[in-house]
């Protein structure tokens, strides 16, 4: 199908973009990559009267790596972030997760900030933002504000962005030395929406796990962090009780059933992924620490 008619705005600056949004309010929608929005428009699940295309706004397409975070602007395409070596070195979870975002062709156009603003519980990058204690930067005519990831997601496809706000950037946090990460999801075909997915983070100090956590894809209504330290802390990566951690994961997730899989099957997958992924993250933690020491 075709989208219903809308008035098209192509602002050249964020100030101009938010001025339009302030005027049109609930009738306005921001277009960046459009890889989630345009299907919705094509199927007429939504028919905003005004579309604010921010693709011509300059200064939004940069990836910035600092000691504390990886900051990306609203026009950074998934593919651009995926291939950014500095971002990968600073936060490996980004590339690990991005390789699972749809297909390469979609990643060429879709933006990481857009997929976070879309707040789809099947999206990979909202989970990564939460697990890295990230921040969303939002701008409106009322000013700018920073929203911690833990407060950003309100429900499936619902964020706390106001109707006059644009998410102009997000910042993914970095982990302390000795922290390993891993990401896996299970889908019917490579690139499809995940039946179940998980991002894992494990910190190892002096050969012993000190902290572990995970966030999920297609398994929770909004992305949240499950602290797995109770099951894993104090053990070495070789001897840790990953089955106990997997049991915590199965208890925590609350998947929906649909045509592709039952809730029980997804819950089982969650446990299986956890048992597979946590040792990988722990081993990477050890390696990450030894590499840090080698370069220090």
């Amino acid at each position: 199908m075709k989208p219903s008619p809308f008035e098209y705005h192509a602002p050249r600056s964020i100030d101009a973009a938010v001025a339009v949004l302030a005027e049109v309010g609930h009738d306005g929608k921001v277009l960046a990559g459009g890889q989630s929005l345009i299907p919705i428009l094509n199927m007429r699940l939504a028919s905003p009267a005004h579309l604010v295309d921010i693709n011509r706004v300059s200064g939004l397409d940069t990836v910035e790596v600092t000691a504390e975070h990886v900051r990306i602007g609203a026009l950074v395409r998934h593919a651009q972030l995926e291939h950014h070596d500095g971002a990968y070195a600073a936060q490996p979870l980004l590339r690990q997760a991005l390789l699972n975002v749809a297909h390469p062709v979609i990643r060429n156009r879709g933006t990481t900030v857009g997929s976070i603003a879309h707040a789809d519980p099947s999206g990979e990058m909202p989970s990564v933002l939460v697990l890295t204690a990230g921040v969303v930067e939002a701008t409106s005519v009322r000013g700018t504000r920073e929203i911690p990831a833990a407060e950003f997601f309100l429900g499936p496809l619902e964020s706390c962005l106001a109707e006059d706000e644009v998410a102009t950037a997000v910042r993914f946090g970095r982990f302390s030395p000795g922290t390993g990460t891993a990401f896996q999801e299970i889908a019917r075909r490579h690139g499809d929406y995940a039946l179940a997915g998980m991002a894992a983070v494990v910190t190892v100090r002096d050969g012993v796990i000190t902290e572990a956590g995970a966030s999920f894809v297609s398994l929770t209504a909004t992305p949240d962090i499950l602290d797995l330290s109770a099951a894993l802390a104090g053990a070495t990566p070789e001897d840790a009780d990953y089955a106990a951690a997997a049991a915590l994961v199965r208890d925590h997730v609350d998947p929906d059933a649909d045509i592709h899989a039952s809730a029980e099957y997804r819950r089982m997958l969650a446990g299986a992924i956890a048992e597979r992924l946590l040792p990988v993250a722990a081993r990477r933690g050890i390696r990450q620490r030894s590499e840090q020491e080698a370069t220090a």
Binding site: P5, F6, Q35, D53, V105, N108
Partner: protein
């Protein structure tokens, strides 16, 4: 600003370079790039299957990178360079009337039957081989995972991707 004579919708002038030539048309903002290519420019080689980004039939190259033309508006493509299936042979340096290496490989390997999905495969595979010139069959299968074909069962398409890599090497493209 001009308006559509029947619907009264505002019309935007969109100029894009398509297959090396500047093309301009006046279209409503909601005109998808896929429909712009087909209806406004008459380039019907780009096929429209699902119109929500799943099937991959409408894939074109935007500034050299494959993208779904059904998930872009023509107005957003303003100022960009588009390559459609009609432009692949020339892009590969093939002589007038000859096929590009990816097209030839699909014929050699029987990589198409009804042909509906083929333009999307050809554009996707062309871009893929530029960054991955020597894929294994497994890598080739993953490379085409975003394109649906309901005839072939994919085996011959995977073969065609590997054959195209050989042809590109042979032709020194």
């Amino acid at each position: 600003m001009t308006t559509h004579p029947a619907t009264g919708e505002a019309l935007h002038t969109v100029s894009v370079v398509v297959n090396g030539g500047l093309r301009t048309a006046q279209v409503p903002a909601r005109r998808l790039l896929s429909d712009f290519l087909r209806h406004d420019l008459g380039l019907t080689g780009t096929h429209v299957g699902c119109e929500h980004g799943v099937c991959g039939a409408c894939t074109v190259l935007v500034d050299g990178a494959p993208m779904r033309s059904c998930l872009m508006f023509a107005v957003s493509a303003e100022g960009h360079e588009i390559t459609t299936v009609e432009g692949l042979a020339a892009r590969s340096g093939a002589a007038e009337g000859d096929l590009g290496p990816v097209q030839q490989a699909f014929i050699d390997s029987h990589g198409l039957q009804c042909g509906f999905c083929t333009p999307g495969f050809l554009t996707t595979v062309t871009a893929y081989l530029e960054s991955n010139p020597d894929p294994t069959p497994d890598e080739a299968r993953e490379a085409i995972s975003g394109n649906l074909c309901r005839c072939t069962g994919y085996q011959n398409i995977v073969t065609a991707v590997c054959r195209a890599a050989e042809l590109i090497e042979e032709r020194g493209i």
